[in-house]
């Protein structure tokens, strides 16, 4: 039986072999064949050497996560076979260099098909070097899956165009040779096959790319950053678009400089953003509070990775939730949103810019390595967006105000008319000290109460503004099992939910998106009615679980926690929940 339009491919080899590049090309190839895909990478924190893998899952429906099996393994070295041969499905195959890596029959399950392609030999024939082995192997896989070779040639052309005609030609030759080698030497059909679908308007995006594009759409005018995994791609992408979209994009000396510079720009009215990871956000924390105190909008992208300290720099984790919820001294409205997939990275970033302006407050988007770096084929977003800059003053508005008070007590509204430097009647002091209505330093206890209360009321207003985007309930309200999760766990929990169908167990999934303000009412309502409740998080202490208890007094007894740097797979979630589930 040949499976049509459903497959998983893993490519493995030493860092520097072009593993991710080939993974991306394969994912695009499937997308252009009208199919959905999910592309994940696993790599260590180094540039050359060390084991890298790229995993691409392809289906006829949207694919939300990786899985821990593959149908075909491209092994660019022997280590890849040793490490991943047991991930192969029944009748799966391995493409490897039969002349370079010797495999003893006893090593491999006998249902597995071995495709020995002389990668090194062909590469040397074409280029005199070893660099084409990945493209040759890719051509071989295209033959096995019966994908349109012309599609591959097109992508190779686009991909290598910048490097010149010679490189394009060598890669096309390499792909063709790999393809032909399989067609000539292995006639028997492979277990999976791609049949082209007429599906248009698909795009392949990582979370970082979705965030960057959404920021541009939202009218980002000022972005600064210090490179740090997993958010660096935002800086590099925005830098490449800075001139076209009139954005100032800066790489600065450290994250303290980054956030303070962005606040200087925001003060004068630029829509501003910064992006970082946990270590960088530690440095930003003080100014996170400054933004809250002086009431300036700012969008902060905070990508989690394994901590503390340098921790696991390239591995996914959800260990910074409680940190960002408490970052900086004192109390101010901290707005923290956690998108669950590429689509939500896009939507929430758009939303974050309006929220920050309307609240005159920083808004933090919390993602992680899994979401930031992994690619997903999605339908082209249908964007309905209008920019709302909140209460930024027009000159006429200020003209009519006799005695402008930037920080007016205002009992009705927590957000005050905001002037921008350059406006005639809007002078004020933007002060990090507690201040009076004009922004002048004030330690008056009565004033302090009024200022604190007005600022903190923004949390309630934020609830109103975020509305039904604070949570999502996936599945029907009545279920045997309720899984709670957040962030990049979303895609994997959704996949795991499918596995329960055959067991006749009804499962729903409560996804929490707004971490602050916290959706107390809805979480209470859902959890108090729920049957078996389990939370799945990628941290040691169950940080969301603690947050739920803090707000609802509901204690989540069943916790599925992981913190070893290896992302949960859907089957792992399924197996563990099933073993813990008691009716």
């Amino acid at each position: 039986m040949v499976e049509i339009n459903k497959l998983a491919l893993k490519i493995g080899g030493e860092a520097g072999y072009g593993i991710m590049g080939i993974g991306l090309i394969f994912a695009k190839l499937c997308m252009r064949s009208g199919l959905y895909a999910f592309m994940s990478h696993d790599y260590p924190s180094l540039i050359r050497g060390g084991h890298n893998t790229s995993h691409i899952r392809v289906e006829d429906n949207i694919v939300t996560s990786h899985i821990d099996t593959c149908d075909l393994l491209i092994a660019l070295n022997k280590e890849t076979i040793d490490l991943h041969k047991n991930e192969l499905t029944l009748n799966g195959g391995i493409i490897y260099d039969g002349e370079e890596d010797k495999i003893a029959n006893a090593e491999i399950r006998n249902d597995i098909r071995l495709f020995a392609v002389p990668l090194m030999k062909i590469s040397r024939e074409i280029s005199g070097e070893r660099i084409l082995r990945n493209t040759i192997a890719l051509g071989a896989s295209v033959a096995l899956f019966d994908i349109d070779l012309e599609l591959l040639f097109n992508i190779l052309k686009e991909n290598f165009n910048k490097k010149g005609e010679k490189t394009v030609k060598m890669n096309i030759d390499a792909a063709r040779k790999g393809y032909e080698f399989i067609k000539n030497n292995y006639k028997k059909e492979f277990r999976n096959k791609i049949v082209k679908k007429e599906r248009k308007n698909l795009i392949l995006l990582t979370g970082n790319e979705a965030i960057s594009i959404a920021a541009i759409k939202a009218g980002l005018k000022f972005h600064c950053q210090y490179p740090m995994t997993p958010s660096s791609q935002i800086l590099t992408y925005l830098s490449s678009k800075a001139d076209d979209y009139g954005i100032v994009v800066l790489q600065l000396e450290d994250e303290i400089s980054v956030i303070n510079t962005a606040l200087g720009a925001s003060w004068t009215g630029a829509r501003s953003m910064v992006a970082t990871s946990g270590g960088g956000f530690c440095l930003m924390s003080e100014a996170f509070g400054l933004a809250g105190m002086v009431e300036l909008p700012l969008v902060i992208i905070m990508g989690q990775r394994g901590g503390p300290a340098t921790g696991l720099p390239t591995k996914s984790a959800q260990g910074d939730l409680q940190f960002v919820l408490h970052a900086a001294q004192g109390e101010f409205p901290r707005i923290v949103l956690a998108p669950g997939d590429v689509e939500e990275c896009f939507d929430l970033t758009l939303e974050a810019f309006n929220l920050a302006d309307k609240l005159q407050n920083p808004v933090l988007i919390l993602h992680d390595v899994y979401l930031a770096n992994n690619g997903k084929v999605i339908d082209l977003p249908n964007i309905q967006y209008s920019v709302d800059r909140g209460k930024i003053a027009k000159d006429e508005q200020l003209d009519s105000v006799k005695d402008y008070k930037r920080y007016e007590y205002n009992n009705n509204d927590c957000v005050v008319l905001r002037s921008l430097p350059g406006q005639k009647n809007g002078l004020y002091s933007c002060g990090s000290d507690e201040h009076d209505e004009y922004g002048q330093i004030s330690e008056d206890p009565e004033n302090r109460i009024k200022m604190m209360e007005r600022r903190m009321r923004k949390l309630e207003y934020a609830k109103e503004l975020i509305g039904n985007k604070m949570t999502k309930l996936h599945g029907s309200i009545d279920a045997d099992i309720t899984i709670i999760g957040w962030g990049s766990m979303k895609g994997r929990i959704l996949e795991a939910m499918k596995y329960f169908e055959k067991d006749n167990i009804k499962v729903n999934f409560l996804q929490i998106i707004s971490m602050s303000p916290f959706p107390v009412d809805i979480v209470n309502e859902i959890l108090r009615k729920a049957g078996f409740i389990i939370i799945a998080e990628e941290n040691f202490s169950g940080q969301l679980s603690g947050l739920i208890t803090e707000h609802t007094t509901i204690e989540i007894k069943n916790k599925l926690l992981k913190y070893n740097g290896v992302p949960f797979s859907p089957s792992e979630i399924y197996d563990k929940i099933k073993s813990m589930y008691k009716k």
Binding site: G264, G269, A270, Y428, S432
Partner: protein, 283 residues
């Protein structure tokens, strides 16, 4: 034309006799001289006695975090280059907490004027040593005297790439006014150190101490475009202390290198930005 009172606000809490008073005066006089409208003035500062100057100047003031006032200025100038961006910092603020920002902002040559109130001691935290305290200076945190050599702010500004570097003494109001006006007029990063007695915590570097030592560089033949000369003069520290303009050269300023800063960021039309082209790359 503007007047001094146009820039005046707030209830000042500096100690009587503090050098900051004359600095504030000079700053306002320079603004009057250049007729800078208060609404076009973005005045940033960090934290410390000196940094309160932005609260007490009627303008768009932003008193941010300790050591980070200069970064607010960098962001403000890039996002709206029509503003006159002015920044004030103390020696602890600029040379302790935020010294890296001085290095990296100076080398950008952003069109910002920075004044360093250098009183060689921590005032607001009640009298600890600062990065510019003289060796042997006894403070509550250095009961046996400061062990390190002091940092030379002018040399740091020079090697970091400032294109205008000057020094004044807080006892000479006219001179500070003139130098600050020159600094603001200079297109690029202007660094002005002001030697400022702290009447409460610095018993050593007093008004008399500086009056005895300071002499005006510009009274003799001196070529401020010569970097080596400037380097030499900046090392003169002791019985005689030069004040005036040490270094001044022309170089394109940072904000001019970005075509996107021609129009202030907030004036860009951001309704309906078309991103179809961006998606094309991901198909």
């Amino acid at each position: 034309m503007t007047e001094i009172k146009d820039y005046t606000q707030g209830k000042i809490t500096w100690c009587a006799g503090c050098g900051d008073f004359s600095i504030l005066n000079a700053v306002k006089r320079a603004f009057v001289e250049l007729n800078i409208q208060p609404e076009n003035l973005a005045f940033t500062s960090g934290i410390g006695c000196s940094s309160k100057i932005s609260y007490w100047t009627k303008a768009y003031g932003f008193s941010g975090l300790h050591g980070r006032g200069l970064q607010l200025a960098l962001g403000a100038k890039l996002a709206n280059r029509n503003l006159t961006v002015f920044s004030a910092a103390g020696d602890g603020d600029l040379l302790g907490e935020g010294v890296n920002h001085l290095i990296h902002t100076a080398r950008k040559n952003i069109d910002v004027t920075l004044i360093l109130h250098n009183n060689q001691v921590y005032g607001l935290t009640t009298g600890q040593k600062s990065p510019t305290s003289e060796k042997g200076f006894i403070t509550i945190s250095t009961p046996k005297g400061v062990v390190e050599d002091p940092l030379n702010p002018l040399l740091l500004a020079l090697t970091s790439g400032s294109t205008f570097i000057a020094r004044c003494f807080a006892g000479d109001l006219n001179h500070i006014t003139k130098i600050i006006a020159e600094g603001i007029k200079h297109k690029g990063f202007s660094f002005i150190e002001i030697l400022q007695p702290c009447v409460t915590y610095n018993y050593l570097n007093t008004y008399d101490y500086w009056k005895e030592r300071c002499y005006d560089l510009q009274q003799n033949k001196y070529d401020f475009t010569n970097k080596e000369e400037a380097f030499k003069k900046m090392h003169e520290y002791g019985k005689k202390m030069p004040v005036g303009i040490f270094y001044k050269i022309n170089k394109p300023s940072y904000e001019e290198l970005f075509k996107q800063t021609k129009i202030p960021s907030y004036k860009h039309n951001i309704d309906n930005i078309n991103i179809d082209k961006l998606f094309e790359e991901f198909r």
